[in-house]
């Protein structure tokens, strides 16, 4: 099929990609070097390809690249400050050992970021519910839940 252009905002910058209709947002991003977005199951199960689409967390393997025309996409790269400083959510994952092999981490970080925007002080149950679609096959969930709580504290201190 003929390639078509898609114009969108990626981590605050305007970009144009040439993609086939069948190209998923996941594949388009990785093809253009945005490798924090991981290709795991590619069937909507694992959550390693999570991105924020207009601020809403979604699995980018379930989105066609052409569908993000005119919209805004945020990946883990976009959380890092201009000076290279980690975002408080990322910092919290480092401090609390929320990372083992690291493959699920960008997705976990983005879902956590979206959760805390919506609910700055989540309960343990709310954290589990929000992260239910992001799988960690190292099963490092205890550290991940600690990281979410730490991130909530760091964001509160910052406010």
């Amino acid at each position: 099929m003929t390639k078509r252009e898609v114009h969108f905002t990626l981590n605050g910058r305007s970009v144009t990609y040439e993609v086939e209709p069948r190209t998923t947002l996941l594949r388009a991003l990785r093809h253009h070097g945005v490798t924090s977005v991981k290709r795991g199951c590619e069937e909507g199960e694992c959550g390693t390809c999570t991105v924020l689409l207009d601020g809403v967390p979604v699995k980018s393997c379930t989105v066609l690249a052409l569908e993000v025309e005119g919209r805004s996409v945020l990946t883990a790269e976009g959380l890092v400050g201009k000076d290279g400083k980690l975002h408080p959510v990322q910092q919290a994952f480092v401090e609390e050992g929320g990372i083992q092999c690291g493959f699920c981490t960008p997705g976990m970080v983005l879902t956590t970021y979206a959760l805390l925007k919506k609910n700055p002080d989540p309960s343990e149950d709310e954290i589990r519910l929000a992260l239910a679609g992001n799988l960690c096959r190292c099963t490092g969930y205890a550290g991940i839940f600690r990281s979410v709580k730490r991130a909530a504290e760091l964001l509160k201190d910052q406010a």
């Binding site: 086939e20 069948r22 069937e43 967390p57 699995k59 989105v63 052409l66 239910a132």
Partner: protein, 288 residues
């Protein structure tokens, strides 16, 4: 994934004419969380995918004095966070919350779950309990059909090429009501139901009325009408009545054995979850 062309119409009229032109070679797409995966596995191989997400008429969840309109593009998250759904259609809220996980619910739509027509579709038993109707437009105009007539079998529905489901409509329960959806799965998130039970209790003109519907235990969702009758008018069902009702519910379903559960287990759970769902509705009506 197999190659296809993507159309993104901005009006219903445009969408209908594209779908009519390509006939069985085209498929409409709402959230795409089922369709794209089915295409990847080559269960379906449309040459043209018609993305409905840019059509303004298909958006939103709106309550009027008659009932609730859920647009074809309304996501499970939008529906479960709607105050109208929480107030008037709690079984649907429970059902949306039991569907997949937060990230998928942000894409997957309630109408899409109906149109996928898989026996385990989580939102369907609740829609059966609320007597939902499916509103369709197509080359021959508009039509409206009860959900139990729309769903014909696994992945089969009463629709012809060129037609689009614009929304589902749920009439407001006539009287104070409560509801719940109980889903049995091997885990809480991202799993298909082994058994799904929706129950709604309404204090209407003719006293207490119950509705019971089941998913994943027959080729289509089913209402247990005999079980509902046995409960008619009873505000505090005792153990004997609950036993009788759960036996009637088991007669209404026709489960199969598959990778997720066996027939005996499914039947036993239909019985148990029926009692629990009724209890939950009775308690929720007392609280208010």
């Amino acid at each position: 994934m197999i190659a296809f062309e993507l159309e993104r119409p901005r009006s219903l009229q445009e969408a209908i004419s594209i779908l009519e032109k390509f006939g069985s070679r085209a498929m409409p797409k709402a959230g795409g969380t089922d369709l794209l995966m089915w295409m990847k596995d080559r269960l379906v191989t449309p040459e043209v995918v018609v993305d409905l997400s840019l059509i303004p008429d298909l958006a939103g969840v709106n309550l009027s004095k008659d009932g609730l309109r859920i647009g074809a593009m309304a996501t499970c998250t939008e529906v479960l966070e709607s105050a109208a759904v929480e107030d008037h259609f709690p079984a649907l809220r429970d059902a949306c919350l039991s569907h997949s996980d937060w990230l998928i619910r942000n894409r997957a739509t309630v109408v899409g779950n109906v149109c996928s027509a898989v026996p385990s579709g989580d939102v369907m038993p609740a829609l059966y309990c609320y007597d939902a109707t499916i509103r369709i437009v197509g080359p021959r105009g508009e039509r409206s059909i009860p959900i139990n007539k729309f769903i014909l079998g696994p992945r089969k529905k009463d629709m012809i090429a060129g037609e689009i489901v614009t929304h589902v409509f749920l009439p407001l329960p006539e009287g104070k009501s409560s509801g719940c959806y109980l889903k049995l799965g091997r885990r809480n998130a991202l799993d298909l139901a082994q058994v799904g039970v929706a129950c709604v209790a309404i204090d209407g003109k003719n006293g207490r009325e119950y509705r019971l519907a089941y998913g994943a235990v027959a080729p289509t969702p089913v209402r247990a009408l005999e079980a509902e009758k046995a409960l008619q008018g009873i505000k505090a069902p005792d153990d004997a009545i609950l036993e009788k009702v759960s036996a009637l519910a088991k007669e209404a379903v026709k489960p199969i054995s598959d990778v997720r559960a066996g027939v005996e287990y499914r039947l036993a759970m239909v019985g148990e979850l029926t009692k629990r769902a009724i209890d939950t509705c009775v308690e929720r009506l007392k609280e208010e």
